[in-house]
């Protein structure tokens, strides 16, 4: 394995992951250019104006008009060429892609995620399309999604703060107790990939991994049919641990709070 292959980030499997990589590369190029200037000054002046070569110094405080202008110009140049550009690009990317969550009526895969020490729980709505019913497909450690279709995650945590990280999609979001956070991407490639917890969550934080299985639509349909069947047969209605889900519509934290007061769902249920 060559060095460059070794340090390459994981393969991109989402429609918008390349935006992050390309912004990363732009920033790298600009930062390198400026850093080269700094190094030229640092090493060049150190060489040229060392005490051995240069005895007579230029007695200046650097407060002549010309010098002040030059300094200010450098500051503004950096700001415009690097900062404003990447802020602008990043902002566009966020608004057009990462914050542009699928609409309620779009045909997407919806998944609820519950993080706990040290495990990822995933919940598919099952045949009736409603969450938190007896036919929900529950899985932990393994997440199955179809390729070529947007997936939206609603994420919360049972105990401490975790962070759902898809290295191959270049995105992550924190899973916070008492809040529901959201994340979406659209997989473009089938295969098995890693899901990580990126936020320190205790001693076995490093073991808190899951696998992302991206299936072709046919495989996914087959998997889902089987899983739904198994869920209906195997779902123990007495097992309260199976009812950690919530209504998909309750997305914001206010709704979650209301929810917990009215029909004692999320928070209360987990207590029992």
């Amino acid at each position: 394995m060559s060095f460059l292959e070794r340090i390459a980030p994981p393969e991109i499997i989402s429609t918008n992951g390349h935006l992050i990589d390309s912004l990363f590369m732009y920033t790298t190029v600009m930062a390198t250019i400026f850093f080269i200037f700094v190094c030229l000054g640092l090493f060049g002046f150190s060489y040229k104006y060392s005490a051995k070569r240069n005895k007579k110094v230029d007695y200046t405080y650097g407060n002549r008009k010309k010098q002040l202008k030059a300094t200010l110009l450098i500051g503004i140049l950096v700001f415009v060429v690097i900062d404003l550009t990447i802020t602008y690009r990043s902002n566009n990317d966020m608004i057009a892609e990462f914050w542009n969550f699928p609409k309620a009526d779009e045909d997407i895969t919806r998944i609820e995620v519950l993080a706990q020490q040290w495990m990822w729980n995933f919940r598919h709505a099952g045949a009736d399309g409603e969450f938190n019913t007896a036919d929900d497909v529950l899985s932990n450690h393994d997440l199955h999604i179809p390729v070529g279709k947007k997936v939206e995650f609603r994420i919360t945590s049972k105990d401490v703060i975790h962070s759902l990280f898809f290295p191959n999609a270049r995105i992550k979001v924190d899973a916070m107790p008492g809040r529901i956070s959201r994340l979406w991407f659209e997989p473009t490639k089938t295969g098995v990939y890693d899901i990580a917890c990126a936020e320190m969550c205790g001693t076995h934080h490093y073991k808190m991994q899951a696998k992302l299985h991206v299936h072709s639509p046919e495989d996914y349909a087959a998997w889902k049919a089987e899983a739904e069947q198994l869920a209906i047969i195997g779902n123990d209605t007495e097992n309260i641990d199976n009812y950690w889900g919530w209504q998909w519509e309750t997305s914001g934290k206010e709704d979650l709070a209301k929810n917990s007061e009215n029909d004692e769902s999320v928070v209360m249920k987990e207590n029992n």
Binding site: P10, I20, L84, N91, M200, H205
Partner: protein
Amino acid sequence: MTYAHGKHAAPTTFLSKYVFSYDHKVIGKQFLWYGIFFLGIGGMMALLIRWTLAFPGEAFPVLGPLLFPYTDGVVPPDTYSMLFTLHGTIMIFFAITPILIGAFGNYCIPLMIGARDMAFPLFNMLSFHIAVISGVLLLASLFTPMGGAAGGWTSYPTLSTLVGSPGSGQTLWCLSIFVLGVSSTMGAVNYITTVICFRAPGMGYFDMPLTIWGLWLTAILNAIFLPVLGAGVMLLTFDRVFGTTFFLAGAAATSGSGDPILFQHVFWIFGHPEVYILILPAWGMVSDFLSFFARKPAFGAKATALSMTTITILSTLVYGHHMFTTQMSPLLTQTFMTLTMTISIPSAILFANWLGTLYKGSIRFDSPMLFSLGVVFVFGLGGLTGLYLGTVSTDLYLHDTYFVVGHFHYTMAASVLLGGFAGTYFWFPKMFGRMMDEKLAKIHFWITMIGLNGVFMGMMVVGFAGMHRRLYNPFVYEFLEKLIPINKFITYSALLMGVGQLPFVWNFVYSLYKGKKAPQNPWEVGTLEWTIPSPPIHYNFEEIPTVKCGPHEFGNPNLKDGRDFQYQTEELV
């Protein structure tokens, strides 16, 4: 610049001279020893962490079996969490803060502004004693039944509440930080007052050396923002000890609807200024040293001071970029991103001024200068890599990866460490009246420089490859397995850097007793501390000096007597 202490007799007994001393010079040295002690502990912890990352499951050589007898010398996972938690805490609060702010602040402020002592010597002594109590509390937490704090130095709830970390280790951690906050606030009150009231007659704010500017701004940030951290850890202590639910939410909080994110807000309102609290003294020193050793007035000294002030103010407005992944509202996120980016204007001006100082100078490469140039280099890298993390979309990927670790080590560890070494080499003659060995200092510089760039550059590389932080064994993830060789390289670099500190320790201890006697002004610099003997007499200045020119008067063509600098007490020729 209206007040001065009178002359007072030096204490005679051992206790009043070395333990309960009011003398700022002694307190500065106390802080120096305290900081170096913790720097050693924190450094050893870093090596244990690095060893675990490069050789997971292998026994740490030599020391391992002694420290972890139950696992045959392998660092166990829970201990690993404690190690990186305490490594961070110790390095930030117990090594850098005491050395850069406690030691240099106490030692240099009165000497460089022409005062006989700090404004409130008693307060100053108490500040050190409280810091000692805080250090004892922290070390004591290691010996509690369930071990020390293990929630990361950021101690995010709910991991840091009883939900995630039972036992008294984390509680002691909170208390220790609170007590240290009290100590630092007392120090800060002292520094600010001293600079305002005790400058020598004739010394305006812009006649102060930039070191003092850095220390002064640091003290201001400390006084304003440490109470915020104090409030945060106090509420966390309440949660842990009295059962309040400020930071508890979700299923684990049986009775609460508090908010764990609240702690993150409070923590980073303090935490981001803290970054600048650590780096500002180093910036100040570097700005001075570049001018001192380039034998040329500091380029745009006023602009440098004002840039540092601007950064101080901006640093209070940008803390949200630590919390992008908590999904704040888009408006807040955009605001924090834009504000973060504006910091690069004053930073770029700082760099322009530093390079402007070197331009057409006559540079002497003594050890303080080498370390200062090193700071410019590593801070350039550290500052530029900050761009990726202030940008929301790249932060989505890089947040909580080793890229972040590499970035903040470049800014907070590498720059500050090199700045601290520069200061140590520079003021050692004044502190102890003896010179340190130049040759060993240069060896120390080059090994440290190679080592730390290997470590932190390596961290950024593995971070870009997706390796996230605080993993006991990252290689349980398939996509990280290929990074084992690079992690080994980082660990070897860290070992090299560790070994590179041996010449420094030897040099320091040897020079303390056997070093060449230092002349009054070995570096030929004109600031006030060099107008008095090395080491200074008990009350520093026989007569309070009158300042007649700036601190960076070098290479004035009107100077006739063979000198290329003039003292601040002399009329500008």
